[in-house]
Structure formats: structure tokens, C-alpha cells
């Protein structure tokens, strides 16, 4: 009998701090606050936790958080690499841990002072010597060293091959912003975005305008993963992880896979899509809503294609038809996304995925049986499909 992670784990609680440009406190404290709020949501005590997982990029050690929050003995801890690609990778780790009995209650967390502390937009610095600095050395001398610049290189080619325009990218940002307008936790709460504002916003890296790029945020998010049986008895019940998977593609680099035959597909996301559909027995038609990783607008289009929601090159038509809007084919990023709510490396999206299935999103679509949640693009990545118990 083949074992899979289908329906093997559930999310029993979610928590987060406020999102801001200057938290005024340490990343450790943000992590502690987010974890405590997720435990409260689940109705669990710190002593119930026996596993923890986060991103390799997180600066806060599991055991630091554990000590501070009063978590006792840990039986499982792990880290997932590659920036935002880890957003659902951590959920994969947690699901594997509870499915195998390695742990019963796993805390997933991510906290960063992404605006007041180290800012990703400032690019790779050569004074941080890491094993992959040889990789970055092919780009550093030429100045191609910010996330926006790497995504822009793929974007230019994608626009060229598919006839997608900057206005189509704007449609992603505008749709997402419309959701943030209703969300008091969102940076852009109450502030809609117009096509004019998008098009006249300054160039960051052509062809990407300011509003094609996500924000930089201080904040923390956490959630609690446990077995479906345990979740059933808890305060909020559980949101079932119907399927969860990770992938790295052939010829993968971190953000700079420029040497593959095509620059206009995301092979690792196609591998993830194939896995989550096979594992859940679901297909693109079964998805009712989604949280699509949106560090930059074009990557939303590429994921629509990778997940089979439209054909290659036709994501522009999907967004022109309002496909991402409430009432559209696939209401997406109903919290405002990372473009307009906050950039917590995709973990605020995990929390929104849970709210969508619970029916408590501030922009709740009518149907919510199956919700797709994805992770970073351009890096080894991950995704999951959430559903009802």
C-alpha cells in the first residue's frame, strides 16, 4: 500500500502579530507572539507542542522560541531552505511529522523585521559569504542582485513570448488591492489601486513597476499542525491538508534559472501541481479559491498556468476576465496578498487559506471546499490544497 500525505494532517490554529513597517521589537518576540496567538486559537497550551519547524532564513532558533513560550520537550524540528519557496515546505515538514508519529502537535512559524531590519529588496551583499556565493558571483559584478531584477529577467521574456502587457500585470495588483481595501490588517487597507497609479508608479527594474512588487513588512505568523483526530476535538476543529508537496526542477538555480530551454514556464511548480492533484484526487476545476504566492505580479500569472487553471500564455486572458476577483473563476489572495496585505514570506497566506476554508475571510467567496495555497516562484518550491474535515 502506498502511503501519501493525503488527509494525514490538519491545521488547528493560526496566529499572527500586527503587520507594520517598524515593529519596534525583536524577531524572536514577534515569533513568540505569533506562536502564542496560534496556540490560543487552537485552544492548546505550549506544553502540548512537541514539534517545531520554520525557514532556514528565519533568524530565530526553534529552541529560543520554545524556551520563551514555555514549550517543553521537542521530538521534531526542521528547517526548509530557499526563501519564499519554503512557505508550504514548512507545512510539508509538519504534515510528514504528524503523519509518521514523529510529533503530534507541530508549531510552524516565521517572523521577520523585513522593513526595519534586513531588507530583501536591497539585494545580495558580498560580505555575507555563503556556499552559494559562487552562484551569485555570476550576477554580482553585473549588478543583477535584487529579487526584482531576477524576476524582471523572466518577465521580459514572458511578455515577449505571450503578448502579455504591463497592464495585465497591473490587473493582478489591482484585484489583490481590492481585497486589501476591506482588511484592516493590510498595509493598503482602504486604499484602492487604479490602472493609472500602477502605470505611473516608478520603475523598480523594467519591466516591473513599483506596484508589481510586494512590500517589506515587520511581522510574524504561525500555525498549528496536528493529526485530524486531535484537531477534531479542539476549539476550532481543523482545516484538512488534502495534499501537500515540494519540488525543485531540473537545472534549478535560486531565482536565476536562466539556462533552461524555456524561461516562460516554472517546471518546479508544475511538478508540485502534478503531485498535489495526484495526491488529493482533485484537479484544477475543483479549486474554489486560492492564495497564490505574489512577491511580484507576474509570478501569479505563471502559477495559474503551472496549476492548469489556464493554458500556457493565457493567464493574461484569465486576469482580463476578472478570474482572480471575488465572483471570478478563482478568487485569489482575498487577504490582499503580499502585494497589499503584508510580506511574511507566504505565511500570512497560509493563515488566509485556513480562514477561507473556515469561512472567515474578510472577502469570503461563496464556495470554499478546496483552497490552493502556494509558495515562492523561481526557487525550489511547494504548495498545498486545503479542505474541510
Amino acid at each position: 500500500m502506498t502511503r501519501t500525505l493525503r488527509d494525514a494532517a490538519a491545521i488547528a490554529g493560526i496566529g499572527q502579530t500586527e503587520f507594520s513597517k517598524s515593529s519596534g521589537r525583536s524577531e524572536l518576540q514577534l515569533a513568540c507572539e505569533a506562536v502564542k496567538s496560534a496556540l490560543d486559537d487552537a485552544g492548546l497550551s505550549p506544553r502540548d507542542v512537541d514539534g517545531m519547524t520554520t525557514f532556514t532564513l528565519d533568524t530565530t532558533d526553534e529552541i529560543e522560541v520554545a524556551r520563551a513560550v514555555g514549550i517543553g520537550d521537542l521530538r521534531f524540528f526542521s528547517r526548509t531552505p530557499h526563501g519564499g519557496g519554503a512557505a508550504i515546505g514548512v507545512m510539508h515538514q509538519a504534515a510528514m511529522a504528524v503523519a509518521t508519529g514523529s510529533a503530534e502537535v507541530v508549531v510552524v512559524y516565521r517572523a521577520l523585521n523585513g522593513r526595519s531590519g534586513q531588507r530583501y529588496s536591497q539585494g545580495v551583499a558580498s560580505d555575507v559569504v555563503t556556499s552559494d556565493l559562487i552562484h551569485w558571483s555570476w550576477y554580482l559584478p553585473y549588478g543583477l542582485l535584487t529579487p526584482a531584477s531576477w524576476v524582471a529577467m523572466f518577465t521580459q521574456r514572458y511578455l515577449h513570448e505571450t503578448g502579455t502587457t504591463s497592464e495585465d500585470l497591473a490587473r493582478v495588483a489591482i484585484s489583490t488591492r481590492r481585497h486589501a481595501v476591506n482588511n484592516p490588517n493590510a498595509f493598503f487597507h482602504g486604499r484602492p489601486l487604479t490602472m493609472d497609479e500602477h502605470q505611473s508608479s516608478r520603475m523598480i527594474v523594467a519591466p516591473l513597476h513599483l506596484y508589481d512588487c510586494c512590500q517589506e513588512t515587520d511581522g510574524g505568523c504561525a500555525c498549528i499542525v496536528t493529526t485530524p483526530e486531535r484537531a477534531r476535538d479542539l476549539r476550532r476543529g481543523g482545516v484538512l491538508i488534502r495534499a501537500v508537496a515540494q519540488a525543485a526542477g531540473a537545472e534549478q538555480e535560486v531565482m536565476t534559472s536562466f539556462y533552461r530551454p524555456s524561461l516562460t514556464r516554472v517546471p518546479e511548480m508544475e511538478v508540485v501541481a502534478k503531485q498535489v492533484y495526484a495526491m488529493s484526487g482533485l484537479g484544477p476545476r475543483d479549486l474554489d479559491a486560492a492564495v497564490i504566492y505574489d512577491a511580484f505580479t507576474p509570478i501569479v500569472l505563471w502559477q495559474l498556468e503551472a496549476f492548469g487553471l489556464c493554458k500556457w500564455g493565457e493567464a493574461k486572458d484569465f486576469v482580463r476576465d476578472g478570474g482572480l476577483d471575488l465572483g471570478g473563476r478563482l478568487p485569489a489572495n482575498t487577504h490582499g496578498g503580499q502585494l497589499s496585505e503584508a510580506y511574511i514570506h507566504g505565511m500570512n497566506g497560509v493563515n488566509e487559506g485556513v480562514r477561507l476554508v473556515r469561512g472567515t475571510s474578510l472577502n469570503q467567496p461563496a464556495r470554499n471546499d478546496h483552497v490552493l495555497v502556494t509558495a515562492g516562484v523561481g526557487v525550489p518550491t511547494s504548495a498545498m490544497i486545503l479542505g474541510k474535515m
Binding site: M153, M203, V205
Partner: protein, 326 residues
């Protein structure tokens, strides 16, 4: 009572106070000032300057750029004048802090929130409240106190149109460093250096000699870039290299604008060049305007010493290509 307690007590009196009577905009919101502002800042949005386009827009007529907010009530030349007795509580507070050694000032944060667009003939009035004065903090600039103010902007009917929070640091400047000798002058920022290792050093040595090398599997002949120790096609560890002809085409490209990175000239054209041998390489395109680069543009290798220590393989459009692309 110590001097510092006395100061704390004096400062506390300012918190929560309005700095003076409302500042009334000397001019109504008007088209000429909007046009000057848009020209200077390069904002080409026609809803600010073109009545016909504005009439057809969602605004139904001309509006002022929201970020122009402060302009309407700014004191202008009087503000720059300085000197003289304090005209309002904010200036009085600054003078008090200066007396206590906090002689320098720097603006650190400003946030504006807009309730509605301003339109021609709006009369703007601003009321400013000192919201907070921080305890003494030590920053890179020196030790000082943050002063937070909140300004509320209202129209002629008294309806709020926007508000703004503004934070300044009033500080004692840190001791100036020893007068720098010419030798100690900060080095001109330079491009980041590539890190050299066993797996790429040979390639950079090729560049130093003037060759753009492509790694080649000695077993199956597969070319690969960037270099790596094993052939992904046949797993051979044996490899040699060939010198590229230097001819290629732009496969994709970007123009970097923000954030500017010291040591590189911005805006900066970066291209993914497909060499005629079939491998691709990231480099800069020189010899044409950054926004003249196009996908498919033929380019030619140009070895350039970008500073005394770094030679890079850059690319230049083959003659005529940049003009054709226009």
C-alpha cells in the same frame, strides 16, 4: 531639581499641544502650481494637468496629486528664513532642545493618508499637534529625541481631506571624526567582486587573458555555463573549455532603476545573452541607451576593465542594431 528633570518637565508641556493657529493655505489649489510640481517631479499622469482627459476619468475633472499635500500650506520663503523669535510652539520646542545641546535636526519619517483628492479652488487649512517627544535615544547620527507631530488637513467646509505624521530627530551631533587625511578618504564605490573558488577560478583567469571561455565536457562535448565540476549529461568529471566567438543575441533583459547600488551606473542594462555556441550568460549591455536594448538584438563581446582590478566580459550592440530596434 536636576537640569535633566527640569527639561523633562518642560518637554512634557508640549506633548498634546497644537503648535499654533491653523495654517491657512496662501493660495487656493490651482492648476499652475500643480503643473509646475508635476513637471519637476516628472509625473506625467494627465488627470493632474489635462482637463479633457481628467473630465473623462473617474475623477470627472482635474485633481491635484495627493502627494502634493504639504505644498498647499507650506510657509515657503518664510520657512527657509529662520532666525527671529519662535513663531509657533514647534519652533519654541526646537529652540529649547537646541539650548540643551540638541542642536541638529533631521527628518526621519513621514506618512500621509488621503481622504480625498484635492481639486482646483479647494482652500486647505492645516492644524498640527505635537504627539510625542521620546526619551533620549542614541542613533548613528548622535544622541537625541524623536519628536512626532500629526497634521490634519481640512477643506473650506472643515472636512478632513488628509492627515500626516512627521517624525524628526533633534540631536547632539556625534563627535566629528578626525579630519580625514587624503589617504583615508573613502574609496570610490566599486562593483561587487565575484568570489573565486576551485570551480570558477579558471574561468575568471580566462577573462583576465581576454577570453570568454565556455566549459566543455571532454567525454560527450556538452557545453555548459555556469561551470560545474560534473557533466550533467554523462557524469564525466573530465572537461576542457572553448573560447566563445563573442557573438550572440539578447535573449532577455532588464533595466535596473531602484534601489540604486553604489559602484554601478544606474539606470543599468542587464541582459541574458545567448551566445552563438548555444550557452547563455548574464552581463551588461554597453554602448547604447539602457532602454534601447531589445530581445533578439545582436550583440558582440567587449572585454572591459571596469576598474583597476576587475575585467568583465560585457556586450555591445553590433553596429546599427540599437538604431534598428527603435
Amino acid at each position: 531639581m536636576s537640569n535633566s528633570e527640569e527639561l523633562e518637565r518642560a518637554l512634557a508641556r508640549y506633548v498634546g499641544a497644537e503648535i499654533g493657529p491653523p495654517a491657512v493655505g496662501p493660495d487656493l489649489v490651482n492648476a499652475p502650481m500643480v503643473r509646475h510640481w508635476c513637471e519637476i517631479l516628472g509625473d506625467a499622469n494627465p488627470v493632474y494637468t489635462d482637463p479633457d482627459v481628467a473630465a473623462r476619468s473617474v475623477h470627472g475633472g482635474l485633481v491635484a496629486p495627493p502627494t502634493m499635500l504639504q505644498v498647499w500650506t507650506m510657509a515657503g520663503v518664510a520657512l527657509a528664513g529662520g532666525g527671529g523669535p519662535a513663531a509657533d510652539l514647534q519652533q519654541e520646542l526646537h529652540a529649547l532642545l537646541s539650548e540643551h545641546g540638541y542642536t541638529s535636526v533631521v527628518a526621519t519619517n513621514c506618512e500621509q493618508v488621503y481622504d480625498r483628492y484635492l481639486r482646483p479652488d479647494d482652500r486647505v487649512t492645516a492644524t498640527t499637534v505635537i504627539e510625542a517627544i521620546s526619551p533620549e535615544k542614541t542613533t548613528g547620527l548622535g544622541t537625541g529625541r524623536f519628536i512626532d507631530t500629526r497634521t490634519t488637513y481640512r477643506d473650506a467646509k472643515g472636512e478632513r481631506v488628509a492627515w500626516m505624521t512627521f517624525r524628526v530627530l533633534k540631536f547632539k551631533p556625534a563627535q566629528p571624526a578626525q579630519a580625514a587625511s587624503p589617504a583615508a578618504a573613502p574609496a570610490k564605490p566599486r562593483r561587487l567582486r565575484p568570489l573565486r573558488s576551485h570551480d570558477n577560478d579558471w574561468w575568471w583567469q580566462g577573462v583576465a587573458r581576454g577570453d570568454l571561455l565556455i566549459q566543455r565536457c571532454a567525454e560527450c562535448g556538452t557545453l555548459r555555463h555556469p561551470p560545474r565540476p560534473m557533466c550533467g549529461a554523462c557524469q564525466s568529471l573530465r572537461w576542457d573549455s572553448v573560447a566563445a566567438s563573442g557573438r550572440g543575441v539578447v535573449y532577455s533583459h532588464v533595466v535596473m532603476h531602484h534601489p540604486p547600488i553604489p559602484g554601478y551606473g544606474f539606470p543599468l542594462a542587464v541582459a541574458l545573452v545567448e551566445l552563438e555556441e548555444g550557452t547563455r550568460i548574464v552581463s551588461n549591455v554597453v554602448g547604447c541607451a539602457p532602454d534601447a536594448v531589445r530581445i533578439g538584438m545582436p550583440v558582440q563581446l567587449e572585454m572591459q576593465d571596469v576598474d583597476e582590478e576587475l575585467r568583465l566580459p560585457l556586450f555591445r550592440p553590433v553596429s546599427g542594431a540599437a538604431e534598428e530596434a527603435r
